[in-house]
């Protein structure tokens, strides 16, 4: 139980976001997730201060809940411009999204990312939250597979 709470207790940066419920294990049990939480100098080469990712398999109902939470956070996007956001939806659900959301701290950028892959009997979902000085162009350059 202590272990279950430990990662959650470290994380405060996502506060205020709807998808925090997913990171906190309120939609799916955290034991079902593969998670990473990294802060500080390890991320300096990527111009990031914080990276939090989770990956999990979800059923239709869980996927719909995560989808709705993510869309509500998308309403907080900086703009619809390509330089701040990219996403793809099919059949009424988001399949892929990278969105820069507003931040009050000067010089810091915040991003939420989502990917849902249909595996026919379940959905493979990846969620990420990032903070740092990196622009979306920087992140694309760093993480896009050649």
């Amino acid at each position: 139980m202590c272990m279950l709470l430990s990662i959650t207790s470290y994380v405060t940066a996502q506060e205020g976001l709807q998808i925090n419920e997913v990171f906190e294990g309120k939609i799916l049990d955290k034991e079902e997730m593969r998670e990473s939480l990294i802060k500080g100098e390890t991320l300096e080469p990527y111009k990031l201060d914080m990276l939090h990712t989770i990956k999990f398999a979800a059923n239709s109902k869980e996927r719909a809940k995560v989808n709705a939470l993510f869309i509500r956070d998308m309403e907080d996007r900086i703009s619809n411009d390509d330089s701040n956001m990219e996403y793809e939806s099919r059949d009424g659900y988001i399949y892929y999204a990278i969105v820069q959301i507003t931040d009050n701290k000067k010089g810091r950028h915040r991003y939420i990312c989502y990917q849902c892959r249909d595996k026919s009997d379940y959905y493979d979902i990846t969620l990420a939250y990032m903070e740092g000085k990196a622009s979306l162009a920087d992140l694309r350059k760093t993480f896009k597979k050649k």
Binding site: G40, L51, I98, Y114, S120
Partner: protein, 153 residues
């Protein structure tokens, strides 16, 4: 097109939130939020959600959004002079800058959480994080997606 009632839309929304909509029901929802001018206020946030999902759809009408905002805002308003608040904010900001202790550099950490176990393993945490971002930024592995597509049945 038959008129869809807001009650039926609420039923369809429940099904949508459970991932149970058929394509036909989804189209009904999209059409409803796209073409209905006078939305009940509890459905307005859903209209915004469907507008995000389909860029071609209209966002809720200005009147509907105004009505929603009015409902959220306090009903009474009166003119209040701003200068005392501005002065107080300046004093508070000065105090924070001058009196606050120097900020400590944020602590580094790297934790992986796999199979219900927390691991203080920096390399593994980085690997999981990088894999997740590479998958998202590459919008999935296209080669794998093609493989799945051609081997679906």
């Amino acid at each position: 097109m038959n008129k869809v009632t807001s009650e039926y839309v609420r039923v369809l929304l429940d099904r949508y939130m459970n991932g149970e909509n058929s394509q036909e029901e989804l189209k009904l929802l999209k059409d409803y939020f796209c073409y209905t001018q006078d939305l009940p206020k509890d459905l307005i946030p859903y209209a915004q959600m469907f507008a995000i999902l389909d860029e071609k759809q209209q966002t809720p009408s200005v009147e509907a959004l105004d009505r929603f905002s009015e409902d959220q805002a306090p009903t009474t308003s009166r003119r209040i002079p701003l200068w005392p608040f501005v002065a107080a904010a300046c004093i508070a900001a000065f105090a924070v800058i001058v009196l606050a202790p120097p900020q400590q550099k944020e602590e580094s950490m790297a934790i992986a959480y796999v199979d219900g176990k927390e691991l203080n393993d920096k390399a593994l945490a980085m690997q999981i994080g990088q894999e997740a971002l590479q998958e998202i930024f590459s919008n999935g592995n296209e080669e794998e997606q093609l493989h799945e597509l051609f081997n679906a049945k």
